[in-house]
């Protein structure tokens, strides 16, 4: 069939499998190099004078941690919405999203330990002598107490563990038994899960990121972190799906629409993120109250102003304008660089939120190696965990009742019940006479 005008996504499936042997060592290398950098950073920042001691390390680690937390939470969100919407197309990509979600516990919880230990250095409010004298802090009691901080943190990880564990348990069990019960169970867990997800994500974003400047408040902050997280995750899921398709692991269960759907979701979250980010800025700008505007004033000092511009144009305009066209969403040469760009932009976005607290004169280019080292170390570790989990389970839910929809093999058949005003054709010469129900 010659189809010169229609781009054929099936062509991608004809490409030979990628040679991944060179990449196999990458997680280990990242861990080794990153670990070394983290160690050097730890020592260097330890030897600083008392008031700066360990702060450079702490903020870098927190930045890298929040970055990967985005992936875990984003993966969990995609699994939850899959079940809540009773979706068919996303069955094929669900399994590795479950693996992403189960990074939350224990591994991201382990990576949170340095944040927990360094919390009194990172979160200024923890060392305020008299909370009653600081109204911004007093109003946030008992949430913003040392006990509150650790209870909330432990509670978040506990609930994430429970949710990720249950969703994965029933999903893996369905691989063996094929029971419909598993689908109902996963749906049930998603129902309470989405609420818990929303509350815990918001609490985590407030306690671990917004709490860095406790005087500030924004009701959008949780949503803001959520939007960026899912955006990053969709870009990651796109790349993983593409690689698994190319390696013939998912080819049998994908049809041409999945990449388009993932691209469309990425586009939607680009707009959603921009909407939330702009709303937060606009409302604060419009109200013009010093208690709120100080947060943005700090972020306009020195090179932070240009970082803000990079975010506006790089996090929104570039992906937005690139993804506008329909065919781009399954054009790999455009989508792959864009998805990698999304990683860079999410990192810049989180830097813009976290680093100005300590580096208030401009972006700390001189110490950029430290957050990048933390990023490499955690990335290597989590990639190792992810690959191990991926290898330990079937690559997709192989007995999911909706798998056939993901494969694009099932189409609803039009029936006399589903459509057609049969009466209008009664007087046609060759129309079938339909018996009328109540006559």
């Amino acid at each position: 069939m010659s189809q010169p005008n229609v781009s054929n996504p099936d062509d991608a499936k004809l490409l030979p499998p990628l040679d991944l042997s060179k990449w196999r060592k990458l997680p280990g290398q990242l861990m080794a190099i990153g670990g070394l950098v983290v160690l050097v950073g730890l020592i260097v920042s330890w030897r600083q004078p008392e008031e700066h001691s360990l702060k450079a390390f702490g903020y870098s680690w927190l930045l890298a941690f929040m970055f990967y937390l985005s992936l875990g939470l984003g993966g969990m969100f995609l699994v939850l919405v899959h079940h809540l919407f009773d979706a068919g197309w996303s069955v094929a990509t669900r399994r590795f999203c479950e693996h992403l979600a189960s990074l939350l516990f224990p591994w991201l919880a382990v990576l949170f330990v340095p944040v927990a230990l360094l919390a009194p250095k990172l979160f200024g409010w923890m060392t305020v002598a008299d909370p009653k004298a600081d109204h911004a802090l007093y109003a946030k009691l008992p949430l913003f107490t040392v006990v509150g901080f650790y209870v909330i943190s432990a509670g978040c990880f506990g609930l994430w563990w429970l949710l990720a564990n249950r969703l994965k348990y029933w999903s893996l069990r369905q691989d063996e038994t094929g029971e419909a019960l598993c689908t109902f169970k996963m749906r049930m867990h998603s129902c309470w899960g989405i609420w818990v997800f929303a509350f815990t994500l918001t609490l985590a974003a407030i306690m671990w990121m917004k709490g860095l400047q406790h005087q500030w408040f924004s009701t959008m902050y949780g949503v803001y972190y959520f939007a960026g997280s899912v955006w990053l995750t969709l870009a990651t899921v796109y790349i993983i799906t593409m690689v698994l398709d190319r390696q013939r692991i998912l080819s049998q269960v994908l049809h041409e629409h999945q990449f388009y759907f993932l691209g469309t979701l990425l586009f939607a979250f680009t707009v959603f993120w921009a909407y939330v980010t702009f709303s937060q800025y606009f409302i604060i700008w419009n109200a013009n109250i010093p208690e709120e505007t100080f947060w943005y004033v700090i972020r306009e000092q020195g090179s932070w102003f240009y970082i803000g511009m990079v975010i506006i144009f790089g996090h929104f305009f570039l992906p937005f304008l690139s993804l506008l066209r329909i065919d781009v969403k399954h054009t790999f040469p455009v989508m792959v660089p864009l998805c990698l760009w999304a990683w860079a932009m999410h990192f810049v976005d989180l830097s813009f939120n976290i680093l100005p607290v300590y580096y208030d004169h401009g972006f700390p280019f001189h110490i950029l190696w430290l957050p990048l080292g933390c990023l490499a170390f955690m990335g290597g570790l989590l990639a190792k965990v992810f690959l191990k989990e991926f290898a330990g389970a079937p690559p997709f839910p192989r007995k999911d009742p909706r798998l056939v929809e993901a494969m694009g093999l099932y189409h609803p058949v039009p029936t006399q019940i589903s459509g057609g005003e049969l009466d209008q054709a009664d007087d046609m010469p060759d129309a079938t006479i339909q018996p009328k129900g109540n006559q």
Binding site: I326, G419, G420, M428
Partner: protein
Amino acid sequence: MDTSAKPFGLLAEFDNTTDVLHAAEKVRDAGFRKWDVYMPFPIHGMDRAMGLKNSKVGWFAFLGGLTGYATGMVMIWWMNAIDYPILIGGKPMFSPYGAFPPSYELTILFGAFGSLFGMLFLNRLPRLHHPLLKHKRFALATHDKFFVVIETADPKYSETETRKLLEAAGSTRIEMVVE
């Protein structure tokens, strides 16, 4: 039938989706331009079988949106900073942040206008009458028959050849429709 009436095109009837899909592929490969397929429900793969490109409506929506955004920004700038400046709360006379929400809404409004009127323009709608509508059997396109119509205005059209093509494609009934 009024013999003086101008012929509009050949109406070929098909009984099932497979036949009409393959017929569409044949008509597409034969290089016809002015033709269409009518069916009671969407058939998966028909766009490709007909060789249809993506709709151009998106460009009208895009241009509409762009016009809307520019209109909003320029309007607010001109009214608040040039024509009748009022200082409010020490804020600048014009700021893109303050002007953004109305401009954004105009983007959506004009974008919607662009897609609606662009669609009507590309469809040549509204029109009061279409020759196919007075053909009695054509009503079955909303029931259980599938139709391929090739217009006589098509440069490749020839009374005998086109009829042969449609017959070879498996049409159960071919009729000439007049205007």
